[in-house]
């Protein structure tokens, strides 16, 4: 290999950053468009879409769209609903799915292989195709509350949470990951008399940072960003509506584009912040475990 001269290295560094920046532009431009547009009045926003002005905060810039958007829809309520449903579902999901994956990978029990095959087969059922049967079912399910048994789950948080807790993909993520953990650790722990739950809690989960982060990100995005059809059909009162249903408030006969962009920008903020926080944990946990390979 040729000796790397100083200028050469400098040039390579510049090239690297140039490539990184170019790629960044490709990924950032629609979002820049969204944020910039949220600051413009409709008329100007639409005119600007045909030129590079779409990406520049020029002209009549203000936060009016944000004010109007808050007047139009109870945005805070929608966001709280979505965040609450997401947090509860995701935390229950990773707990229950990882426990099941643990049983599928490390334990031997009759019916295990069949059960895993069935769970994984559900990976290929798109939700849209079972929505109506599911609706008929949840409208008749019982729930034991403080005031005794009540029937029907419509217009609640639970109807937005419970059916979504377990999904095949999350189980699959954990299964794939657990398979690569060194089995000696588990065997050693069992030999020392640890219970199965202790092995799960003390040995396996502490090693599962990367898969936990992946599962949490994937599931959170699904719960926060993609809950539209289901809440639409099971939630009729505004108090329980999530953000994606709230999107409909901005589609009147003539769409309020500026307000729509403001709404889109607002609802995207929590996810971005969440990702920025998790990204550090994610990278750190991978570096610290170093068990694979």
């Amino acid at each position: 290999m040729a000796l790397v001269t100083k200028e050469n290295a400098g040039l390579r560094l510049v090239t690297r950053y140039a490539v990184l920046t170019l790629v960044a532009l490709v990924f950032a431009f629609p979002l820049v468009f969204m944020i910039i547009s949220s600051l413009k009045p409709d008329q100007q926003l639409l005119q600007d879409t045909s030129s590079l002005r779409a990406f520049l905060p020029v002209g009549d810039i203000s936060l009016d769209n944000y004010r109007a958007a808050f007047d139009r829809a109870p945005i805070g309520r929608f966001m709280l609903n979505s965040i609450f449903v997401t947090i509860v579902t995701v935390s229950m999901s990773v707990a229950i799915c990882s426990l099941a994956a643990f049983a599928f990978v490390y334990m031997k029990w009759s019916g295990r292989d069949a059960a895993l095959s069935i769970v994984l087969a559900t990976l290929i059922i798109p939700f849209e195709t079972i929505a109506v049967p599911l609706l008929l079912m949840v409208s008749r399910l019982p729930w034991i509350g403080v005031e005794g048994v009540e029937w029907g789950w419509l217009n609640t948080y639970r109807v937005q949470i419970v059916p979504w807790i377990v999904d095949a993909l999350t189980v699959f993520l954990f299964v794939q990951y657990f398979k690569d953990l060194p089995r000696e650790l588990i065997e050693a722990a069992r030999a020392e008399g640890a219970s199965w739950f202790q092995v799960y809690r003390r040995v396996v989960m502490p090693l599962s940072g990367p898969v936990l982060a992946t599962a949490v990100i994937l599931k959170s995005l699904k719960m926060y960003n993609e809950q539209y059809l289901w809440p639409l059909i099971v939630v009729q009162d505004e108090a329980h509506r999530p953000i994606m249903v709230g999107l409909g408030y901005f589609f009147q006969l003539n769409v309020a584009w500026g307000e729509l962009m403001a709404y889109l920008t607002l609802i995207s903020v929590p996810v971005l912040v969440f990702y920025l926080i998790l990204q550090r944990a994610f990278i750190a946990s991978i570096a610290s475990t170093g068990v694979k390979g």
């Binding site: 139009r72 829809a73 609706l135 008929l136 639409l232 099971v234 409909g248 009147q252 006969l253 769409v255």
Partner: protein, 416 residues
């Protein structure tokens, strides 16, 4: 949380004091502040004006309102009063979601025909307003292109209309001669475009039996309509199905389209945007009369409601001219009665949108009154989009007929 709900419920009971029976009302206007305010005003006037009933409103985004209703009906969770889009009502009535609305005849006397929804000889729904579609243009456009101003009595003929579009195109002053609003998918297509087909002499279904579309949607008149329709797009006269929705909103106002086929709800925005010589022209007569679609949102009562008389009391209360006028002033819709129209700013004699009331009164033709309309409308929408995109006209209309007929058969004739 539970504590909070309890306290609110108690508060509600405390203020009402007398034993009013609560009736829930579902409405499609979530996100439209003005509309919600007017409705809330009517409801609170009603609730405080008598002691039997108390109406509570729940609003839904319009785009998904029908899905919400159907889901609630499947789950057995419908409210007492609901609002329903005119042409959809027969479907819900036939399916057993709705029951007849026992309003007094006097309450709906003199209302625009299309604002009263009838099915099986009974009144099921009543609307506070109607909507109308007109051919938007500017006086300056007509002058520049040297075109006469069509009137209700003397609308443009097919040839005149075609010539007008050609002239606009060859002038080179516009991106497109005609904006049909192809960006608005869904009910807009059958609502706005099936009157063209009817004016040619065809229809979505055969209204003499409502049991087939054969002949109506693929007969000679329909084929002529289809060829004409396709030519609008192949000749570059109108933007096609990929039209950006933003262009639909702003294209005419910015002067990029010479003509636009648009509803009365967009008229106020057009005038406000500074198009001060805007004209709202009647639909051309393609040979079989000049017509536009009719019947907008209306109130009805669900089948599971135990108090239809309460629902009727509310609807009759809401039908007062002052409320019709308030809705019209607020969101630009056409009031159901002449008296109410006279009270509005825009639809009164000499008001800027007066032509729309005349259009509604003179030209309105309701979409086929059949439970099968919901599916037929979808099929019609796809056929029009396909033809606009260059599909063979005869084959596409044949296929649409087959699909509509198969649906009617699968539903046992929809009770006709």
């Amino acid at each position: 949380m539970r504590y909070l709900i309890c306290s609110i419920a108690l508060g509600g009971v405390a203020t009402v004091a007398t034993a009013q029976t609560e009736l829930t009302l579902w409405y499609h206007g979530a996100g439209n502040e003005v509309e919600s305010e007017i409705l809330d005003g009517i409801v609170s006037d009603f609730n405080s004006g008598q002691s039997d009933w108390s109406v509570a409103v729940e609003s839904f985004p319009q785009g998904s309102y029908n899905d919400s209703i159907v889901a609630a009906a499947l789950a057995g969770n419908l409210p007492c009063i609901l609002d329903v889009d005119g042409p959809v009502m027969p479907n819900w009535a036939w399916a057993g979601y709705m029951q007849p609305l026992p309003v007094a005849d006097a309450a709906i006397e003199g209302h625009l025909d299309a604002t009263v929804g009838r099915w099986g000889g009974e009144v099921y729904s009543v609307g506070l307003w109607d909507a109308a579609v007109a051919l938007y243009t500017r006086q300056s456009t007509l002058d520049e292109l040297g075109l006469r101003t069509p009137t209700l009595d003397n609308p443009w003929t097919l040839d005149e209309f075609n010539a007008a579009l050609e002239t606009a195109k060859t002038s080179g002053n516009y991106d497109f001669a005609l904006d049909l609003g192809m960006a608005w998918t869904g009910e807009w297509y059958p609502y706005a475009f099936s009157p063209f087909l009817q004016s040619f002499g065809g229809d979505i279904v055969d209204r003499s039996t409502y049991l087939t579309a054969e002949g109506a949607l693929n007969g000679d008149a329909a084929l002529a309509f289809g060829e004409w329709w396709q030519n609008l797009f192949t000749a570059g006269l109108a933007p096609g199905t990929s039209q950006d929705p933003a262009d639909r909103d702003s294209g005419f106002i910015e002067g990029r389209y010479a003509f636009a086929w648009n509803g009365n709800w967009a008229a106020a925005a057009t005038l406000d945007a500074g198009v001060d010589d805007a004209l709202f022209l009647p639909a051309p007569d393609f040979g079989n009369g000049s017509t536009i679609g009719a019947a907008s949102w209306q109130f009805g009562v669900s089948a599971t409601c135990e108090f239809p008389e309460g629902a009727a009391a509310f609807v009759e209360f809401a039908l007062q001219d002052r409320y019709l006028a308030a809705f019209s002033d607020g969101i630009g819709l056409i009031p159901s009665t002449r008296e109410a129209a006279a009270m509005t700013e825009r639809y009164a004699q000499g008001g800027p949108l007066e032509p729309f009331f005349a259009l509604s009164d003179a030209q309105a033709l309701v979409r086929p009154v059949t439970p099968g309309y919901v599916v037929a409308a979808k099929v019609f929408e796809k056929a029009l989009a396909d033809i606009a995109n260059g599909a063979d006209v005869a084959d596409t209309l044949d296929a649409a007929v087959d699909e509509i007929d198969a649906d009617i058969e699968a539903n046992g004739g929809y009770g006709h």
